[in-house]
Amino acid sequence: VAYVLQFHEKTVAPYLLDLALSREGRLALARVLDQVRLYADNLINDPGRRLFPGSDCFRVDWFFRDPVSEAFHHLHLVISDAAAAYGILRVLYVEDETSVR
């Protein structure tokens, strides 16, 4: 299923926009977010990711590296598929753990 990925305007989007990334790192982040969208079916169908049984929300962890700073970024996302019937997945929460090489 081709989903549209949406980001909470007040919490998630500003957080991602404020990450300390080079331009290449931002490109990497954009690629990662697109991968999340493309990989969504697998994520939705993994019951181990749900916040609790029956929850509309699931956890996703994604790793990438900023090619310029070489810092590792570990993105923790919480995504809701409550509107999946309309082809919409919503990223409700994000946190990044950065570790420098």
């Binding site: 990925l5 949406q6 996703v60 790793f63 570990h74 509107a83 919409i88």
Partner: protein, 169 residues
């Protein structure tokens, strides 16, 4: 998850090397040369597996997939370390001319060191992946998320455009 082809090949060929080294008590000069050639091939295989992980990190990779790749690489590095150390003992005892022996020993020491260093570098990342997920209070999440018309969200295209806008960078 099934093993990746590359790591499965690495594991099997490392087992062949280790089995040969452990089964045979003494190596002639010619056999020691063959052993060293085998180790060079294994070093290359481990280098390729390492590069595969590096490329995955550069592209971005989902956590469970990364954990799986890391576990496989750590396993291959451990087998490599064991095989190179055992080979080192055999080469040391073999009747190779001194410079050739020294060169072989140096190559094996360097292979062991690289495998140990890489394992150390991966352990931290693996430890983080093995940690239980952090506690999260679902009540803190925004309501109305089941309604497609709910306001307050932006799409991936808009977010990407903002990420890559000159103002942002």
């Amino acid at each position: 998850m099934p093993q990746t082809l590359a790591s499965d090949m690495a594991r099997k060929s490392l087992d062949v090397l280790l089995d040969r080294v452990e089964r045979q008590h003494a190596f002639s000069a010619q056999e020691a040369r063959e052993l060293l050639n085998g180790c060079v091939i294994q070093v290359t295989v481990l280098d390729r597996l390492w590069e595969q992980i590096q490329r995955s990190l550069d592209r971005g990779i989902e956590g469970k997939q990364l954990r799986y790749l890391l576990e496989e690489l750590v396993d291959a590095l451990d087998r490599g370390t064991k095989a190179f150390r055992a080979s080192s003992e055999k080469v040391k005892a073999a009747d190779l001319p001194s410079p050739e022996n020294a060169e072989g020993m140096s190559m094996l020491e360097s292979a062991v060191q690289r495998a140990v260093d890489r394992r150390g570098a991966l352990s931290g990342l693996l430890g983080r992946l093995e940690a239980p997920p952090r506690e999260f209070d679902p009540r803190a999440l925004p309501p109305g998320r089941e309604n497609p018309a709910t306001k307050g969200y932006i799409g991936l295209d808009e977010l990407t455009a903002r990420l890559l806008s000159p103002k942002q960078t």
